[in-house]
Symmetry: C2
Subunit: 421 residues, 2 copies
Amino acid sequence: MDIKHYMTEVGRRARAASRAMAKADTRAKNQALLLIAAAIRREADALRAANQRDLEAARANGLAEAMLDRLTLSDKAIATMAEGLEQIAGLPDPIGEISNMKYRPTGIQVGQMRVPLGVIGIIYEARPNVTVDAAGLCIKSGNATILRGGSEAIHCNQALAKLVKEGLAGAGLPQDAVQIVETTDRAAVGELITMPEYVDVIVPRGGKGLIERLIRESRVPMIKHLDGICHVYIDDMADIDKALKIAFNAKCHRYGTCNTMETLLVARGIAAEVLPGLAALYAGKEVELRADAQAREILAGYPRLAEASEEDWGTEYLAPILAVKIVDGVDEAITHINTWSSQHTDAIVTEDYSRAMRFLREVDSASVMVNASTRFADGFEYGLGAEIGISNDKLHARGPVGLEGLTSLKYVVFGHGEVRE
Amino acid sequence: MDIKHYMTEVGRRARAASRAMAKADTRAKNQALLLIAAAIRREADALRAANQRDLEAARANGLAEAMLDRLTLSDKAIATMAEGLEQIAGLPDPIGEISNMKYRPTGIQVGQMRVPLGVIGIIYEARPNVTVDAAGLCIKSGNATILRGGSEAIHCNQALAKLVKEGLAGAGLPQDAVQIVETTDRAAVGELITMPEYVDVIVPRGGKGLIERLIRESRVPMIKHLDGICHVYIDDMADIDKALKIAFNAKCHRYGTCNTMETLLVARGIAAEVLPGLAALYAGKEVELRADAQAREILAGYPRLAEASEEDWGTEYLAPILAVKIVDGVDEAITHINTWSSQHTDAIVTEDYSRAMRFLREVDSASVMVNASTRFADGFEYGLGAEIGISNDKLHARGPVGLEGLTSLKYVVFGHGEVRE
């Protein structure tokens, strides 16, 4: 198989399909989503069988248990995929929306129309549900998409792609609007990220290693985030109860997610009051605390206490480990965060109005919170209805990215024969 | 001079200044703009003297007359620079604006806050007024900026930079918020576009050659457009008077601008009616018409008539030359435009509602117009107050880019102790 030729053909077909998708009406797009959801429910047995083939191959290849877990398509996962599509069908269509129409002194009327980006390449690892979620978001936002899933899930992804194409065809939309890369050859990724003539944006979903490689090699813009080194700062004007709840939830609700707290900053004035209570909560979850000298004094006797090195401030543990640092106050907290944060999500706990406002304004991260757990940084929790990923970049989309992040705005001008004087 | 070391220092200082600019209050930013405007008026003689040194060097180097013209700082240009700053001071401050705050079922309140991008690198050619316009837009939008102007304007730019720094200092803002690259060594550009740790976005202002080189070599995202191959399509349901006015203005108002029409598409059904009248107007301006076979039949006898080759459909003439093509109707017009347009600005002239709506929706360009001259595609004409450039890209900013294009949105969450269940 000539990978370059194959990917060029995939790209060419995606570009052509994107033209039809851009002008597809809302009813057709919603119909496709509902047909795909129905097909997924109807073909649940076939999907499980395809998934079984993937799982057997993965076990034969000695894949780790966590990976097998993510690869498994349970009955619940199948139902959730179908429901997700139905939810996307229920969201307002972002495309064609015209905003800010204003008359100018020359007589022309100027506004902006929301339009699709064009062709979106999605590169992801094992999870087969990404195939359906991403296809659904791209269909609704009028884009064509090229999906490159993990090779471990190839049978399942092919089975899902068949159902997606069936739904597209049933709604009169081009089947090429959603294409699965049919080869597991890694060279296909190299092609996908270097054909800007066919692909407008890449959304990578995966570990830091994958994304770092894509950043180095991609010639197509990306909507991405590398990692989540999230902070909670407990100010000396914090409400102790809120501080305990938030700092516990932000660390222990789930360890492996990008919006989990990795470093806790505590104002010196409240440390002796708040840290022992927090330690009692963390001890129940066997969380290791890597603390600076002052915090270690207060935490003396904690069963899993270690010395924090500078490296800890820049580490995303994705595990029951937490870095702890005592700071003078909000100034040092902001400086620490703007130095070490991955600009994903950072929160302050305080009852002081001015410090809350300063933190919101000055912390340079995609999500900045007052008195709430960092775990809320999520497209569903923010009310976007669905999420294609999270962006830590400042250009285009920042933070959780839903349908709107897959669109652009063009200027539209309504005239009456006006010319420039 | 070690260029790499020098540029790293410039970048480091810009990053530090950007932190202060991001939290600068509106009053200080406006005060800086007004102080700079006053200093420019006060030092008009010194600016002209510096400009004289540049002009003498440019003449000695045999610079073309058109280039000398753009380099010249007239009394009017000096006044216009000062007025431009005062206008920017009068615009609303985009930074800190919070929008779309909504309560979520969990109790948290989620919205978005407009924030600066950080450090903006601007690469431009001779015109010294860009130095002041760009500095003004970056100050107002809370960014730091590194300005790399053409080496021909170095004395004038240094004189302007001195006044900008005086204004910043007078308002209590960091002088490093606006830095001029003090060396004319071209290697400085190579450094500027490859230090993403210090520069968040590059805005190149210049010819296609410069921008193509930057696209190849830059590791920093760019807000840019390559060229302007703009179309006017005269539909067979067009009002003839409007068609004549618009097609004449779009070509002949100015030849060298990126929003000038380069190809005229005419529906077959109206060609014989509209082309002779247009030809009479173009003849008065000695415009060369490069037409397809059908159009040449109608235009027979026009003094400057040539045969169009396929190359003409993809050429930005920036001159009194116009490509002319007869099309079947709106379908062929849209297909031609989506194939050949540089996605800058394209217009339809029609009285037919459905065709106007289809053109608006289906033409994939940054500005799409009905019954108006393409020459309106401009930040001032659109009401943005000022313009840093025009983007033909779909990600981030598209079309004329004003203050808002130099900002991003971060999510802000107001909580009351909420945690994720």
